[in-house]
């Protein structure tokens, strides 16, 4: 159900869903390439189309002409890595999975799945206020030709990935031999610890993390640690809700399907009555009854099939509306990662602090001790000089690390509040959308059933009784129904009730978030949808 996509061939009358794709990924083209050791080297390129906004522009700002570039999956992966490096603390939406079963990698089905996933990924990035204005994304979307050939892109890429392990081991050996002071310099302090790149630092930080914190943490740090727990709880809640939503959509689909099948069974029975019932009808002089039975079966069968079609569209819409639960669930790991980045930055600063303290204490001890202990004044002075050198570097590193920590902390805070705000708005919108769709569906179904009942010789009293609960219905939600069912009717292509006057009024109505305006919707409501119906019961 999450495959449903709003832009694909939707009738123009459909009101906009709250996600409007700005970037499209399409036209996958398979290419051959060199392979190693019998592994097929083929790969797929995708056409990425986007409309760049002005620098610093908002969503829907001035648009320039469309830009088209070709990208392969590897380049998406690189983009994700760049963003991970350079946007610490931000809740960066996760990229589609890398793992692909070798034999499946080039099949059409897999390529289509991946194409969809990549499109959703880019659009999620575009919805992030900071990332969508970023140079990284802009380069990705606009650089013609191969990204590998673009110098600006190369400059962004995280340096020295291949050599990291070798470099790390070399460094460690130096440190152990005493050739390297093993002091983190300011530039490195501002970067996250790479376990492979600087083993000593990683070890120290791990050791530090296991110690009981001596100083109490400031309240905003504590708040952020609580926030992590909240995010974890949110993740759990979203998991359950997303699964329940999927089940609901699946049940909706099945329910619609059965209505259609029942309808078809009745239609078939009606056809049989028409084709073969004549003999019995003649024999028993019940031609009139046979005729009306045939008519009745056909009427109800048709109504059921119509209701089933409505149900299918509703299922699709619900899948889209409730899909945002799934989207937010996907964002949770990114949020947790962003919060962890802050933890790591704090740990780095903290470890440096401890380091600094240790060296200062060492200096103090040296100065207090007599020259005899260490083999002479010269040796002592040298040692003190070395330590002082370390202290100087460490002080700078500590400020760099602390600055990094503060920056990441601020990012965390703004991201959290952005996440909360967006979630509240979107989930609220989701519920309203869902309720609106269901209301429209039931309203439309009611019309279908009343029409069928009337054609099946229901009396006016019976019809009135059936829709009794709807009369005296407040106009405002009714307006929403009109709006929704206007689109349902337009999409369905058959509107049995005269709706001409209603449609313009309802399309003028804003999206569902406008608060109910009692008198304004008076024109649209006429005491219940079947009011203007030209039905003639019996």
């Amino acid at each position: 159900p999450h495959r449903a996509h709003p832009a694909r061939g939707a009738p123009p009358a459909l009101p906009p869903c709250h996600h409007q794709p700005l970037i499209s990924v399409s036209e996958p083209v398979k290419r051959e390439g060199g392979g190693l050791f019998g592994i097929k080297g083929g790969y797929v390129t995708y056409l990425v189309r986007s409309r760049p906004r002005q620098v610093g522009g908002q969503v829907g700002g001035q648009v320039r002409p469309e830009v088209r570039v070709r990208r392969r999956f590897r380049e998406f992966v690189t983009l994700a890595e760049i963003l991970k490096e350079r946007y610490r603390g931000f809740f960066v939406p996760p990229r589609p999975e890398k793992n692909a079963v070798e034999g499946q990698r080039m099949t059409d089905a897999f390529v289509e799945e991946r194409r969809l996933a990549l499109e959703r990924y880019l659009n999620k990035l575009a919805r992030h206020p900071v990332i969508c204005a970023s140079e990284e994304l802009r380069l990705f979307l606009e650089t013609e030709g191969e990204l590998g050939d673009c110098p600006a892109w190369a400059a962004l890429r995280p340096a020295g990935q291949g050599g990291a392990v070798l470099e790390g081991t070399a460094r460690l050996s130096k440190q152990l031999l005493g050739l390297d002071r093993g002091v983190t310099d300011p530039e490195q302090a501002a970067q996250p610890t790479k376990k492979s790149g600087d083993i000593m630092r990683a070890i120290r930080e791990t050791a530090r993390s296991m110690q009981v914190p001596t100083a109490s943490l400031p309240p905003d740090e504590l708040a952020l640690q609580r926030a992590r727990e909240e995010v974890e709880a949110l993740q759990g809640g979203l998991t359950v809700a997303s699964r329940a939503a999927e089940r609901l959509v699946s049940r909706l689909e099945r329910w619609s399907g059965v209505q259609g099948e029942l309808g078809l069974a009745l239609l078939r029975a009606g056809k049989a009555e028409q084709a073969e019932g004549g003999a019995l009808a003649q024999h028993t002089c019940t031609l009139k009854q046979s005729g009306s039975l045939m008519h009745d079966l056909e009427r109800l069968g048709t109504a059921l099939v119509r209701a089933s079609r409505i149900g299918r569209r509703v299922t699709g819409r619900c899948a889209i509306e409730l899909g945002c639960l799934h989207d937010y669930l996907g964002l949770m790991p990114a949020a947790l990662k962003g919060l962890r980045a802050r933890d790591k930055a704090l740990l780095t600063a903290d470890t440096l602090q401890a380091d600094l303290g240790a060296r200062r204490r060492a200096i103090a001890e040296l100065e207090a001790a007599g020259a005899r202990v260490l083999g002479g004044d010269a040796a002592k002075a040298k040692k003190i000089a070395e330590l002082s050198g370390d202290v100087a570097v460490l002080q700078q590193s500590l400020s760099a690390a602390t600055a990094t920590y503060e920056r990441v902390k601020a990012t965390n805070q703004s991201e959290l509040s952005r996440l909360r705000g967006e979630m509240r708005a979107e989930l609220g919108g989701m519920l309203r959308g869902f309720a609106g769709v269901m209301a429209a569906c039931c309203q439309r179904d009611t019309e279908i059933w009343l029409a069928a009942a009337s054609e099946l010789q229901a009396t006016p009293e019976q019809l009135q009784a059936a829709k009794a609960c709807l009369t005296g219905h407040p106009p405002a939600p009714h307006q929403q129904h009109q709006h929704q069912q206007g689109e349902a009717a337009a999409g369905n292509g058959s509107s049995s009730a005269p709706r001409g006057a209603d449609l313009p009024a309802s399309t003028a109505a804003a999206a569902s978030s406008r608060p109910p305006a009692g008198s304004a919707a008076g024109g649209a409501g006429s005491g219940g949808p079947p009011g203007p119906r030209p039905g003639s019961p019996g």
């Binding site: 069974a265 019932g277 003999a279 003649q282 209301a439 069928a452 219905h473 608060p515």
Partner: protein, 417 residues
């Protein structure tokens, strides 16, 4: 005579809505099947029902009767009516489900109770069967008298040399008979009316359609209930999610969802149950009554086969007699014996012809009645389904509309966009 306008035909028996049509102008019988009580233990366990009759029929001793009967008794009544009133379409019994009986689930028992009530009322409104002795005994006899009568019926059925009524057997005999006439060079066969054959084929096809419609109706029932359950689950999950928002607007919004979704889910559950009794069960009964018609059709086929057989039997005996007469010098008593044979065969032929023609003529009446009832009932069933669906979806539309309104209010209260 045309059936009366439909409103007078609908009759509410006791607490359920399962209608039983009354084609007589006056409501001669009102029969209730109630109070199922489990009796006995283990394998020998069964359910007994109270059968309460209110009648104005002249042959009945009093206007009110109450007896206790079990399914087996209804079955005996049904079989006896089929036997005694061949050519008449006897209303169908509910299934003799072996498994359900042992499980004795309350729902199963209630379904069966309702179906039995429909059955007995249909019998009591059948223009011929309502006057039958069998029905009178069933409705009035106390326990001892009933046991005696039932035993007598069983003995009669066993003793009566009743030809096999299964359609397959009848067909097979017909085949044998055709083979025989081929061998004997006789092309004469007694055929069915071409018109009847069309009717027969139509009826056979009809059973399939009704069975399919019932199957889909049952599935619709289940899917409706499933949908309600999924909605409840979703609302619960959403509410839990909303609580995580602290005092924020999501909590209130999702709380609204929980309330309304609960309403809608309850509506779905109720609709599902209603569908079972009001739509699925009548469809099933309609399919079963087609089977009753098929039983009568099989009887007719058997009678036709017997008739045809008797005719070819007579013909071959006549041929033998003629041959004997033509042969010189044959003993007189041989000829006399053969003449007796011919006479007996002639008598048998007359009986068989009468039997066949009786069924044929009865069937015409019965099919007439059946068709009129069926068309009216089916049309009413379809109409009521549409009305009930309309009401159901209207109520749901109201609930969803109210949810939407609540959500909009919550949203604007918290200064939403």
């Amino acid at each position: 005579m045309d059936p009366p306008p439909y409103e007078s035909v609908l009759q509410d028996h006791g607490t359920n809505n399962y209608f039983a049509p009354v084609t007589a102008v006056s409501k001669e019988f009102e029969i209730e099947v109630t109070d199922p009580v489990k009796q006995g233990e283990g394998v020998a366990a069964y359910v007994s029902y109270k059968v309460r009759t209110k009648t104005t029929h002249s042959a009945y001793a009093a206007p009110f009767h109450q007896v206790v009967r079990r399914f087996r008794d209804f079955s005996a009544l049904h079989d006896k009516l089929c036997e005694r009133h061949r050519g008449h379409i006897v209303p169908p019994l509910p299934e003799k489900s072996a498994v359900g009986k042992y499980q004795m689930a309350t729902e199963f028992i209630d379904q069966r109770r309702r179906a039995l009530q429909v059955f007995i009322n249909r019998v009591a409104s059948h223009p011929v069967l309502k006057d039958s002795r069998e029905l009178a005994t069933f409705l009035q006899a106390d326990e001892e008298a009933w046991l005696l009568e039932a035993a007598r019926w069983a003995a009669e059925a066993a003793a009566a040399h009743r030809p096999s009524v299964s359609a397959a057997a009848a067909w097979f005999r017909g085949l044998q008979h055709s083979a025989q006439s081929l061998v004997s060079g006789r092309a004469e066969e007694i055929q069915e009316d071409a018109e009847y054959i069309k009717i027969r084929d139509y009826i056979n096809g009809l059973e399939g359609h009704l069975a399919e419609a019932h199957r889909q109706a049952s599935r619709l029932m289940r899917k409706e209930a499933d949908l309600g359950a999924a909605l409840s689950e979703f609302a619960a999950a959403a509410e839990a999610l909303g609580k995580l928002d602290g005092e924020g607007p999501m909590r209130a919004a999702f709380g609204c969802l929980l309330g309304r979704a609960g309403e809608v889910a309850a509506l779905s559950r109720a609709r599902s149950e209603a569908l079972a009794g009001e739509f699925a069960a009548p469809l099933k009964e309609a399919a079963r009554s087609i089977k009753s018609v098929q039983t009568v059709m099989a009887d007719r086929a058997a009678a036709l086969a017997a008739y045809s057989q008797a005719k070819s039997d007579l013909d071959s005996k006549k041929v033998r007699l003629a041959r004997l007469r033509g042969t010189p010098g044959l003993k007189e008593d041989k000829i006399a014996e053969t003449e007796r044979d011919v006479n007996e065969a002639d008598q048998r032929l007359r009986n068989a012809k009468l039997g066949y023609e009786t069924i044929r003529d009865t069937m015409r009446e019965e099919l007439n009645r059946f068709q009129k009832e069926r068309a009216a009932e089916m049309s009413a069933l379809l109409r009521d389904f549409a009305l009930a669906q309309a009401q159901h979806t209207a109520e749901q539309a109201k609930a969803w509309g109210e949810l939407l309104r609540d959500l909009q209010q919550t949203n604007s209260a918290s200064g939403g966009q």
